[in-house]
Structures are given as C-alpha cells and as structure tokens.
C-alpha cells in the first residue's frame, strides 16, 4: 500500500512498486496481490520520462511496466477501502482482484509506506489510519480466520508506533524507524528531480535481490537489514506475538509463493473399484448408437407463427365500477327524470 499522492512523494510509489516486483519475482501471482497506489507518477505531467517509475538513480531500473496491476488506484486508496480489504467486509459487487481472498492457511505480507507520525499513518493527504484501528483490523482478521501468519512492514517516519498496539497472535512486524525518529530517503535523481527511494526499503530490496525461491534465509537476517550506519534511523521489529521462532521462519514464507512439488513417474491407483470401472468403459463406447441432439425447440413452429402479444386489459370489475360511478354522478346532478330519455 502506498498512502501518498503528488509528485514529490515519488519515492513512496517507487518503494511500493519495488516490493511488488520482488514479490512477483519470487512467485506470488497478481491474483494474490492487492496493490494500492495513487498511481499518479508514471503519467504525471512533471515526469520527464513518462510511463516509467525508477527506483535506482541513473534510471537503472524501471519498476513500472506493462504488467503492473494496480487494484486500488488514485482516490480509491482510502482508509475505508484498506480496512475493508483487510477484514473482507466488501460490497458484493467488488471484483475478485480487489478482494483479499485469504483463509486460515494464508500467510499475508502487508507493506505500507507513506507519511506517518506517532500512532498514525496519513492516507492521501486527507485522512489517517491509527495504530489502534490497524490492530483492531488485524484482530478482526484473526477472528475471521483470514490469516495463518502475518508479516507487517512499514516504512514511514516513526513507523514503530504503528505496530505497538497489535494484540492478535501470529503477527510479526518490522518498521523503518522508532518513535521520535524520521525515516529518510535514499537518493535523489537529478534527471527526474525527486528522491527515488527510501533508505530502509532500498536496503530491504538489496537484501531481497539475493533471495530466490529456494533460498533458506530466515527472518533474523531481515531484522539485520539496514543498520543505523546506513539507515540513519533505527529499524525496529516485533516478534512477541509470533508463535514460531523467527530463526525458523523463511523469507520465502511471506515474500514468495513456494510450493512443495514432488515429481514422480509412476501412476498411483486411487481406488481399486475405480480401476475396474475404467476398464469397462471402452466397451460401452462401442455399443451406444451415434449421439444426436434432442428436439428441444420447435424452431419451425416459432419462425412461421407470429407470437401472440399478450396485452394488458383493465379488469372488468374496474371498468364496470368506474362507469357505474360516472352514470350515478350524472344522474344525481341532472336528476332521475332524464333516465326515461336514455332508456
């Protein structure tokens, strides 16, 4: 989730897109990623290189390309939509790509970046999400069994305040700076004119470049990324709610989609009866007569006969009642003596 908009927050979009790229590279498909961006960088009139978002200076790496699938863009990135995605309380008309279709065996990675403060994160310059709201959202997710384990990474100023209030089990959190510290940006690109990345995310990405789907690197290595010498701010992490030891948690548990696939060359008989059934089948095929369509629609009848228009008619009782009333009114005003002229 990138919670900022406007050109000078280029780096937040670059952060989010870089993490998105790494996660896709490690195997998670777009159908399993919910990407929320303001998406006003690539086509921004101030972008000297339109349709690109660079994450390294000297325009080395374009993280925006043909296959970036943004699920919530521009003004749809709101606190309400974010919380609805997390908790699953979405209107029924929402498409699948905008939903978090997780269940109790899913590991979820949540990466948020933007401008934040002590206990809140600013969404698009108009609203905020507080750490209490976030913690409650995660508790709702836990009670609805929407995650197995959750990794929460946040790259904002005073980011550690956002994970202080979590109280649901199986959550691990990382932040780029402690309360009272600001997260700083990494490098400006003089050609584009803005800062391209934040320090913490830059070093996390350098770390993630080393990871491939089969690597055995664990969370403790992630906690070491970006020491104070490189990051100027002190990254923090929280593992007390997590049941497993971070030493045993693989990076690819959250960042990649690693399946255990075993290839075998032999056939496996599932059921002995089924095997017998299978052998009977070829004989049946020969015995049946050639198939043909049943006479479902009497097409000839339909074409040559005009459909009878069923018109609506006012009910007889109504017509009778109405005209009786009209006649009564007429005779009441003009007297009964006219009746003999009528009949």
């Amino acid at each position: 989730v990138c919670t900022s908009r406007f050109w000078f927050n280029y780096r937040h979009v670059a952060n989010t897109l870089s993490v998105y790229r790494s996660v896709k590279r490690l195997g998670i498909p777009d159908s399993h990623i919910v990407l929320m961006l303001a998406d006003d960088m690539a086509c921004n009139p101030r972008n000297p290189k339109p349709a690109t978002v660079f994450s390294h200076k000297n325009m080395e790496l374009n993280v925006y390309g043909d296959d970036v699938e943004v699920d919530y863009r521009s003004y749809e990135v709101t606190v309400e939509n974010f919380l609805r995605v997390l908790t699953g309380r979405i209107p029924p008309s929402t498409p699948r790509s905008k939903r978090l279709l997780s269940d109790d065996r899913s590991n979820i990675l949540i990466y948020m970046t933007g401008h934040g403060g002590n206990g809140f994160l600013k969404f698009q310059d108009s609203e905020e999400i507080t750490n209490v709201e976030l913690a409650d959202a995660f508790e709702q997710m836990w009670q609805k069994r929407r995650y197995n384990e959750l990794l929460f990474i946040i790259d904002t100023c005073q980011g550690a305040s956002m994970y202080e209030r979590f109280y649901s089990p199986n959550i691990m959190a990382l932040a780029s700076s402690q309360v009272g510290e600001d997260s700083l940006s990494h490098q400006p690109d003089l050609g584009i004119g803005v800062h391209l990345m934040d320090r913490y995310t830059f070093y996390v990405l350098e770390f993630l470049e080393e990871i491939h789907p089969a690597s055995q690197t664990n969370m403790n290595d992630l906690f070491q990324v970006c020491p104070k010498s490189l990051c100027v701010s002190t990254p923090g992490h929280r593992t007390d709610l997590f049941q497993r030891d971070p030493q045993n948690v693989l990076i690819t548990d959250f960042f990649g989609s690693v399946r255990k696939v075993e290839i075998t060359a032999e056939t496996v008989a599932l059921d002995r009866d089924l095997a017998a059934f299978e052998s009977k089948f070829p004989e049946d095929e020969l015995a049946t007569e050639p198939l043909k369509y049943a006479e479902q629609l009497p097409v000839a009848q339909i074409i040559h006969q005009k459909p009878k228009q069923k018109d609506w008619h006012p009910p007889g009782g109504f017509i009778l009642g109405l005209w009786a009333l009209i006649i009564m009114v007429f005779f009441k005003t003009y007297g009964i003596k006219h009746m003999k002229h009528v009949f």
Binding site: Q309, K310, D311, W312, H313, P314, P315, G317, F318, I319, G321, L322, L325, V329, K332, T333
Partner: protein
C-alpha cells in the same frame, strides 16, 4: 358569445396541431420546465409499456401518475394528441362558462350592495359595469388557450393539462352551486396531484355564500353544511382510491404517487423551489425541510380564508397560484391555469403597482430558462446556481404578482366602502398600505 369562442377554440387547436406536426414537438416534450417527473408523457408511455410487459407500472420509480390515467390512456394512446387538444378546449370552455356565471353573481352582489347603500358615494368609477364585463369570459378562454405556457404544455402532452381541466370543471361546478359535483371534481383533482386539497376552503366558502349561510363558528347550519360537503368530498376521494386499487389489484400507486409528491425524491431541475435545496442538503435534515416546504403550500389557506371570506373566487385564484408556485414539481402548465384568471380582475389594473416590472420579469425568465439550461448542461460554462437563480427569480415574480393582485383587490374593496379620496385626520391625502 358562442361564435367568438368557437373562433378562439379553432385558432388554439390550429396552433397546437401545427406545433404537433413540427419538429418542435420533440424538443418541447423534453424541456424540464414543461415536463416534470410527475406529468411527463414519456413516463406515461413507459408505464403503459411496462404494463404490457406484465410488470406493475409503478415499479422502478418511472411512472407517477394515477391508475385512472392508465385507464384513460390505455384505450386512447394512439389519439393522445387529440386527447390533449380536447382537454385544453374543455378546460377553456369550462372556464368560460364558470366566469360567465361568476360575472352574473358579481353583478348581482354589486347591485345588492349599492341598494343597501354599503358603498361610499364617490366610487362610481370603481363599480364594474356589464359592458366591460361582457368580454371577460372570452378573454379568460383566450388567455388560457393562447397562453404560450399552455400551448407548450399541450404540445409536450404533459398530464398537467388533464389536472387543469379537472380543476376547471371543479370551478365550474362550484360556481354553478352544485356541491356534489364540485366535491367529486375536487376529489378527482386531489387524487391526481394532492395539492388541490387546499381548494376545499374556497369552494366551501363560495357554496356557503351561495346558500346564504353566514360563516360563523358558532352557527349550526355552517357546521352542518361543512360536514356535508366534507363528507361528500372525502367519500368520493375514498371511492376513487378504492376503485384505483381494483385496476391493478395493488396499493403500489399510493407510495408512487402521493409518497413521491410528498417526499420529493427526484431532484431533476424544474421551475420549482425544491430541487436545489434538496440537492445540497445533508441527509439528516432532509425530512425536516421536506416537511417545512410542504407545509408552506398548505399554510396560506387559513389566513387567506380569514381575510378573503367574502370573496371566495379571488381566494380560489390566489390559492391556485400559491399551489403552482410552491408545489413540489411545478410546470408551466400549472402557471397557465392561474394566468387564465387574470382578465377577471382586469378592473384592478389601476391599483396594481408593479405590473410592468413583474410582467417583464416573468417574460425574461421564461426566455432565460432554456438559455441557462443550455449553458449549464450543454456548454458546461454555467452551473446549477445559474438555473436556480432564474427559477428563484421566476417564482419571486409570480409571488409578487399574486401579492400585487391581492393588494389591489383589498385596496379596491376598501375604497368601495370608504370612498375613493381617503384623508387622514389632518386632511391630507392618505395612502393605503398592505401590512
């Protein structure tokens, strides 16, 4: 008098027929000033089409007319243009006959008051003579038939023409003195658009006057007659509503028609005052303001009844005008109805103070309506505020017109009883002010 009336009718029918055949018909039918969600012809056709498909016409908030209109147009839909022209002609004839009778009543009353010496000695020039009153019914029919507003409303086939015709028949029945017919027509008018309910008071006052029953709260005959008239009216209303139930075998028409009129859910711009306010309002205030606005229509009845109890037909005119200004979905067809009455008060011309500026305001606003609509919707260089400004100005013009006539009427009545040259205590000329 029949021949000039026939000529006028022919001229009106020709104008309408010519417009029906021209390309303007489609353009006028879409104008929001002429067709509101309540009375647009498009919606009637849609409702009938839904009925042919086997669905209730009231589903989907498209059709907001009453079941009797469904019945009427079910059989007459191919002759719709003829129906509307005949309706306009009938309205004009009803108004003609009504005003003819009314003139006789006015003249009789005037004669009575002169003989009873109720008038001051120097008011000879204020008294209406039969010569000048001779052409008034024709002028009324003329004003109604050739009023651009009613022509446009007929060409657009807006069902407000039918409403106008029912109200015209109601006025005819009241002035002729038949309480039963007037109750029936009033019930029909109320059934169609709810607001003519307020015309109960002037009709009652007129009928009481005709029966020579004085309007005193303690008088038993007053209450007896009121109860009779009210029960006639309510019974016919109930009978008509129950009969409409039998048309479609459902009560959906009640929320679709009356619920729609009262709760104003559709905020398409029209020449009324409701749409802009409710478009801008917060949800939790809307109920309160809907109530306030609706009460505004009904509110003037009682004070006007107290002030104008000797002059119920003028009261009826003012009431119809108030309905057409303050109703929830007014159209120019409603404006045409009360403007038809203006020749009846042409003797008040010398007392009207602002008639020039008001007629200019009304004419200019009528021309500016399509201009600002175009600027807002098509050119995009204006916004709803511009159109609402014209709506407001038009309605202010109408209200000032009504109050001007009211002032002129009361002033004339005062002069009649107190003499034309009013003097204050010290002998200088005094001026009457409406407080």
């Amino acid at each position: 008098m029949a021949a000039p009336l026939v000529l006028v009718v022919l001229a009106a029918v020709t104008v309408r027929a010519a417009l029906f055949r021209s390309s303007l018909a489609a353009f006028i039918a879409e104008r929001v000033e002429v067709a509101s969600p309540l009375n647009a012809w498009k919606r009637v056709v849609e409702g009938l089409a839904l009925l042919d498909l086997g669905v209730s016409p009231y589903s989907g908030a498209v059709f907001h007319e009453t079941p009797l209109i469904i019945y009427l147009f079910h059989f007459l839909i191919e002759y719709a243009e003829l129906v509307f022209m005949i309706t306009d002609v009938l309205t004009a004839i009803a108004l003609y006959l009504a005003i003819q009778d009314f003139n006789k009543v006015v003249f009789k009353k005037q004669k009575l008051l002169i003989e009873l010496d109720k008038y001051a000695p120097d008011v000879a020039e204020l008294i209406q003579t039969p010569m000048e009153m001779h052409y008034i019914p024709l002028k009324v029919a003329l004003f109604y038939l050739l009023n651009p507003y009613s022509v446009m409303s007929c060409v657009a086939k807006s069902t407000s023409a039918i409403n106008n015709s029912v109200i015209a028949f109601f006025i005819l029945a009241t002035i002729k003195g038949s309480a039963f017919l007037s109750a029936v027509f009033l019930a029909l008018a109320t059934y169609q658009s709810l607001y003519p309910l307020t015309l109960f008071a002037p009709a009652l006052l007129y009928l009481l006057q005709r029966q020579f029953i004085p309007v005193k709260l303690k008088s038993k005959s007053f209450w007896l007659y009121t109860m009779q008239y009210a029960s006639l009216y309510l019974c016919s209303l109930v009978v008509i509503i129950c009969l409409s139930f039998f048309l479609l075998n459902s009560w959906d028409f009640i929320p679709s028609v009356y619920g729609f009129i009262l709760s104003v859910p559709d905020l398409t711009p029209n020449i009324g005052l409701f749409w802009y306010f409710f478009a801008e309002m917060f949800e939790h205030f809307s109920l309160f303001f809907v109530c306030v606005f609706q009460i505004n229509v009904f509110f003037y009845t009682i004070p006007l009844a107290i002030k104008l109890k000797e002059h119920p037909v003028f009261f009826m005119f003012v009431q119809i005008a108030i309905i057409s200004v303050f109703k929830s979905y007014p159209t120019v067809g409603d404006v045409a109805l009360y403007m038809a009455f203006l020749p009846v008060w042409s003797h008040l011309y010398r007392f009207l103070r602002n008639i020039f500026i008001l007629s200019c305001v009304l004419i200019f606003c009528s021309f500016l309506f399509p201009v600002l609509w175009h600027l807002w919707i098509y050119a995009g260089s204006a916004n709803s505020n511009f159109y609402y400004a014209i709506t407001l100005t038009f309605n202010i013009g109408q209200i000032l017109l009504i109050s001007d006539y009211f002032y002129a009427f009361l002033r004339r009545e005062y002069y009649l009883t107190h003499g034309l040259h009013l003097t204050r205590q010290d002998g200088t000329e005094a001026m009457l002010v409406l407080k």
